[in-house]
């Protein structure tokens, strides 16, 4: 036999499903957002963990930022003898150029392009599969081409489609990289060891190792990444190998990564993205929860006669609550299931929103677990939001079966002040065990949901606290606005007074409506303000005199030729040209640094990153010495300066934030590894650097003379006039193909594009919050539709025209929109200020046009929503309504 609560719940739901449409929607929108984000997170997890070896390219990866040393090579050779397969991949940035007659559209297409070059051996990839069009073996596609190009030698190359589009090339087109000529033999579709394509300097080009040698791009000090991927024999222990390799290669400045911690940065980024999107989803669910609470409250009010009947038949309050709680949970489960379906649909749309951030081949496969989790989350939220309104069942007296029109509680209540009313509620709560237990249960449910969604106790508590604060602030703001409204003397227009008093009448759900819409407005205001500020920073805050080009990998023997080229192509344009060496930090104050100890830690990258070190005789512009003294070789005043550099430790000036994170002070010594050779320096000053100047700036600058004999290269910056950019780039590629020219504007454009795309994805979800607010509003309006219908009928019968009634309704809904908009925008400003000030360390600027547009849009949204909820009521003939009383 079906239990009574379930039977009643099912019958009620089936018989009056249309009454619960908005409840379903309230839950479904929130669950949908959560499910979509969860499905995406599961796909990320699958893509990263499911194919971790493929993503790393091996079981273990050894990577160097320079050519491997003989000692390192000896270690690798010894591994080959122990049944370990090693694949060698070299990555570097390079300039790809096409002959002028190949590029069809000379006016609009550049003939050179910065690319991310990847040289592969025949074993690549050890894991996963490379997808290329046409689907031919890599060896076949990259092999030397016997027929040759116009120039010899000639090799096959695989390129990303974006390169072909930018340079207007096709399969079979020729391309020059360094000293080698290539024919594009394939289009890269999927690279197994690269999941995200957004954060790159340029399109990928894959060539063979033999071709890389021919390009002559790898020279001393070149900015390269040598990766050796190891495939371990089956049944060997990973940790054992990691331990051995770390022990044998630690002095070599190598980064050792196992497949278990592959792609840590990307993983962190996607984890954070899905976490924040998930929390927006939870916000939507909680806003929907306000709608659930209103619907249940309205439903219980309508069901009072049945509740009273059940009580007369011997049901006690707990039994009746059980019946209606079952119904609420049933409704919540149905809404959650609908949300699961909605989420699956939204999930399919995610690639569109995150286009360019996630690869096109990213798996978008729905899985069951996130949907089931969504249903559980939705049902739990329904429980939390329906429990309190269900407590009202306790106060339904069975005597209402024969005295329905008398609300005894209201009848007995004396008019009380606001403070007395609230105090009495608190007192009642304190003395009522059921209310206390229910409050605890609701709090537990909501905190549980927040912690579950945030995957962290502290973040869950913080989120729930912030949500509570937002609710309290919205309530306080609305109360103040109501107070102001009640003290304004309105002109003697009945409909205006009717509209404003309607807002404040009990049971009108004005505050829940304001809350639901206000939270959406707050979220949107915060996101838009933060987005505008960050985009302004990226797009407009570049100083007018900032360089437009960075040139890297200039060899010492190209120094004079490079200067000459700049003077010919951009005469009278100042430029900076400085020597640099690439180093890794291996020790502080004589204590060796183990990079493994700092991986994944906050600011741990200060210990694990590569440091490009330069030398300057005088303090660079945009730098201020905050501690110690800058060296001044022109005034040999101190005894230290009298010592030749060979007899003492060279001095280094360190950027102050780096010094703080590395725990350095004046006098600390640093051991830097320059291509396997230790280089010990002593900290003599700390500097504050204005990174926003976009000038050439460094974390570490050593005193002149320190780098004598080191494997230096040069880097240069120049502010190239727009019209001279392409001619200079082409001349550079032609004369010095190994020199890489990075266009600052292109890089920033790329960052801005990704950021905009990301912001769009987040805003789309936040928009769902606003839509949920609108649904809550319609739900709240529909609860009182019979009361409204009755009032409208009376007003019509008394001669109120449709226009006047519309005016009254418009005033009521417009005021709700105005209140929600004002309070939501106010809170959004506060929240965005906090984020920008504390998190981004940026200045918050008020953007009046954006805020006013937001307010106007909110008022329009509430007007539209209000009319959607009431327009049918206006068309009922008054007589038919009044006769049915």
């Amino acid at each position: 036999m079906i239990p009574l609560p379930l039977k009643l719940a099912w019958r009620e739901t089936v018989n009056s499903w249309s009454r619960f449409v908005f409840l379903f929607l309230c839950i479904a929108l929130g669950v949908g957002a959560i499910v979509a984000v969860d499905l995406f997170a599961t796909n990320v997890e699958q893509a990263i963990l499911g194919d971790a070896r493929g993503l790393l390219g091996g079981d273990i990866e050894l990577s160097w930022r320079r050519t491997i040393s003989p000692k390192g090579q000896a270690v690798l050779d010894s591994l080959s003898d122990r049944n370990i397969t090693i694949s060698h991949v070299t990555e570097l940035a390079a300039m790809a150029a096409v002959e002028s007659n190949q590029s069809a559209d000379q006016e609009t297409k550049a003939s050179s392009q910065l690319v991310e070059l990847k040289a592969l051996d025949s074993l690549y990839p050890l894991y996963g599969a490379l997808k290329v069009d046409p689907a031919q073996p890599i060896k076949q596609l990259l092999k030397p081409i016997a027929a040759g190009c116009q120039h010899t030698p000639c090799f096959g190359a695989i390129a990303q489609k974006s390169l072909l589009i930018r340079l207007n090339l096709n399969l079979g087109s020729e391309l020059r990289i360094g000293q080698a000529q290539f024919i594009i033999t394939g289009i890269l579709l999927k690279e197994p060891d690269k999941i995200a394509t957004a954060f790159s300097l340029g399109p990928r080009v894959m060539i063979s190792r033999e071709a890389l040698d021919t390009t002559e791009l790898v020279k001393t000090g070149s900015r390269i990444n040598e990766r050796y991927r190891l495939q371990l024999p089956p049944s060997t222990k990973l940790e054992q190998w990691l331990g051995e390799l770390r022990g044998r290669l630690s002095p070599e400045g190598v980064q050792i990564t196992s497949y278990r911690d592959a792609q840590p940065r990307l993983r962190r980024f996607l984890d954070q993205l899905t976490l924040y999107l998930g929390l927006i989803g939870l916000t939507i669910l909680w806003v929907g929860g306000i709608g659930v609470a209103c619907t249940i409250q309205g439903f219980i009010t309508q069901k009072t006669p049945i509740i009273a009947t059940l009580k007369t038949l011997g049901a006690d309050s707990s039994q009746v609550i059980h019946i209606y709680l079952t119904q609420s949970l049933l409704l919540g489960s149905i809404g959650s299931l609908a949300g699961g379906l909605l989420g699956t649909g939204l999930h399919q749309g995610l690639p569109l929103l995150l286009q360019g951030i996630i690869p096109e081949t990213f798996p978008i496969d729905p899985t069951l677990t996130p949907i089931l989790r969504g249903v559980a989350v939705g049902t739990l939220a329904t429980l939390a939001f329906s429990l309190w309104p269900l407590l009202a069942i306790r106060s339904v007296s069975p005597s209402l079966v024969f005295r329905q029109d008398v609300d005894r509680a209201a009848f007995q209540r004396e008019p009380r002040s606001w403070t007395k009313e609230k105090m009495s509620l608190v007192k009642e709560w304190w003395h009522d065990r059921t209310q206390r237990v229910t409050s605890l249960l609701i709090t537990g449910c909501l905190l549980g949901l927040a912690c579950w969604q945030a995957h962290s106790l502290s973040l869950g508590l913080f989120f729930a606290g912030a949500f509570l604060l937002a609710i309290l602030a919205l309530l306080a703001g609305t109360t103040v606005l109501f107070w102001i409204l009640s003290h304004i003397h309105f002109p003697q227009r009945f409909l205006l007074r009717h509209a404003t008093s309607n807002l404040q009448r009990p049971g009108n759900f004005t505050k829940p409506m304001t809350l639901a819409i206000g939270i959406g407005v707050m979220l949107m205001t915060t996101l838009i303000t933060v987005q505008h500020t960050l985009l302004d920073l990226i797009e407009d805050q570049i100083p007018a005199n900032a360089p437009s080009f960075f040139f890297i990998d200039i060899q010492p023997d190209q120094y004079d030729a490079f200067k000459e080229m700049l003077e010919i192509h951009i005469p009278d344009v100042p430029y900076d040209l400085v020597p640099v060496v690439r180093t890794r930090l291996t020790g502080i104050d004589g204590q060796p640094i183990n990079p493994e100890d700092h991986k994944g830690k906050r600011n741990g990258w200060y210990f694990t990153r590569e440091y490009v070190v330069t030398t300057f005789p005088s303090l660079p512009k945009d730098n201020i010495v905050t501690q110690g003294q800058w060296w001044d070789h022109s005034q040999l005043s101190t005894s230290l300066e009298n010592h030749p550099i060979q007899d003492r430790l060279p001095r280094v000036s360190v950027e102050d934030e780096a010094a703080k994170n590395l725990g350095l002070s004046i006098g600390s010594t640093l051991t830097l590894n320059i291509q396997g050779v230790p280089f010990v320096v002593k900290v003599s000053s700390l500097r504050r650097v204005d990174w926003g100047s976009f000038s050439m700036n460094f974390f570490m600058i050593v005193e002149p003379g320190s780098l004598d004999g080191a494997p230096i290269t040069y880097i240069a910056t120049a502010r190239v006039p727009k019209t001279l950019e392409i001619p200079l780039q082409q001349a550079m590629v032609s004369a010095m193909p190994n020199v890489t020219a990075i266009h600052v504007g292109d890089v920033l454009d790329n960052i801005a594009k990704i950021f905009r795309q990301l912001a769009m994805g987040i805003q789309a979800l936040a928009l769902l919050c606003l839509i949920t607010g609108a649904v809550v509003m319609i739900a709240a309006i529909s609860i009182n539709r019979f009361r409204r219908l009755h009032e409208l009928a009376i007003l019509k019968a008394l001669g109120g025209s449709r226009r006047l009634l519309l005016f009254s309704l418009g005033t009521e809904f417009g005021l709700i929109g105005g209140f929600s908009g004002l309070v939501g925008i106010g809170l959004g400003c506060m929240l965005s200020w906090s984020l920008l000030h504390f998190f981004f360390d940026l200045t918050w600027n008020i953007n009046i046009p954006v805020l006013l547009t937001g307010l106007l849009m909110t008022v329009l949204l509430t007007l539209l929503t209000g009319f959607l909820g009431t327009f049918r009521l206006l068309s009922f003939p008054p007589l038919s309504v009044l006769r049915q009383e």
């Binding site: 049945i306 038949l313 011997g314 006690d316 039994q319």
Partner: protein, 217 residues
């Protein structure tokens, strides 16, 4: 009994004192507003007197808290309303079985079938209240009131919403069930013919008993 409105006391019933022996049929009559339904509600424990006590089957129901009162009502009291008060989403059979289901009795439907047959509604087991006529709805309500064999049956204007022919049929069934179940029957009515079928008539006026007449010795 007192009900307060603001600072003003409204006395609905006062100085009411009477006993109803087991199995007696008592009719309460009086003009509208005399307090008949309120008195019946008090006897059912649906309301509480501001002063005084009510003892049913040896229990002072005025001292019972909500839950024990509900429990007591389930076991000892059946109630028939003027407006039937059937649950619209339950079938006739389910409505009748409802009091037993609330007691956690699993065989409620078997007993409900028997009672519905007794009120001649065996062809309406699976009909919803909206599919039944007023008389049929009241017969379902009668069956529901008797399902847990309550020693006390309270009926508030049981024929008030019915035409006279249907009303007579319902009253015949009510008497029949009362006799079968040996219950005490207290009914509130305006109908003098119906009151005349009772063993005793209690007349209320302005909240007080003005007449207490036994018709059968």
């Amino acid at each position: 009994m007192h009900l307060s409105a603001g600072n003003q006391d409204v006395h609905i019933l006062h100085d009411i004192s009477f006993e109803v022996p087991a199995k007696q049929v008592l009719a309460i009559v009086g003009a509208s507003g005399s307090g008949k339904s309120t008195l019946l509600g008090l006897m059912a424990g649906l309301d509480r007197p501001t002063h005084g006590s009510i003892h049913i089957h040896g229990t002072n129901i005025t001292t019972l808290a909500e839950s024990p009162m509900a429990h007591f009502r389930r076991q000892y009291i059946g109630y028939v309303f003027q407006a039937f008060h059937l649950i619209p989403t339950l079938t006739a059979l389910e409505n009748v079985a409802l009091p037993l289901e609330l007691q956690g009795v699993s065989t409620g439907e078997d007993r409900a079938r028997t009672l519905l047959q007794a009120v001649e509604l065996e062809h309406r087991f699976h009909h919803y209240p909206i599919q039944l006529s007023g008389g049929e709805q009241q017969r379902v309500a009668l069956a529901r009131a008797f399902i847990s064999h309550p020693p006390l049956l309270l009926a508030d204007e049981p024929t008030g919403n019915l035409d006279s022919a249907t009303g007579n049929l319902v009253i015949d069934l009510l008497w029949q069930l009362h006799e079968q179940h040996d219950s005490t029957l207290v009914l509130v009515t305006h109908d003098t013919n119906l009151a005349a079928r009772a063993q005793r008539i209690l007349t209320l006026q302005d909240g007080a008993i003005v007449n207490d007449t036994s018709l059968i010795a």
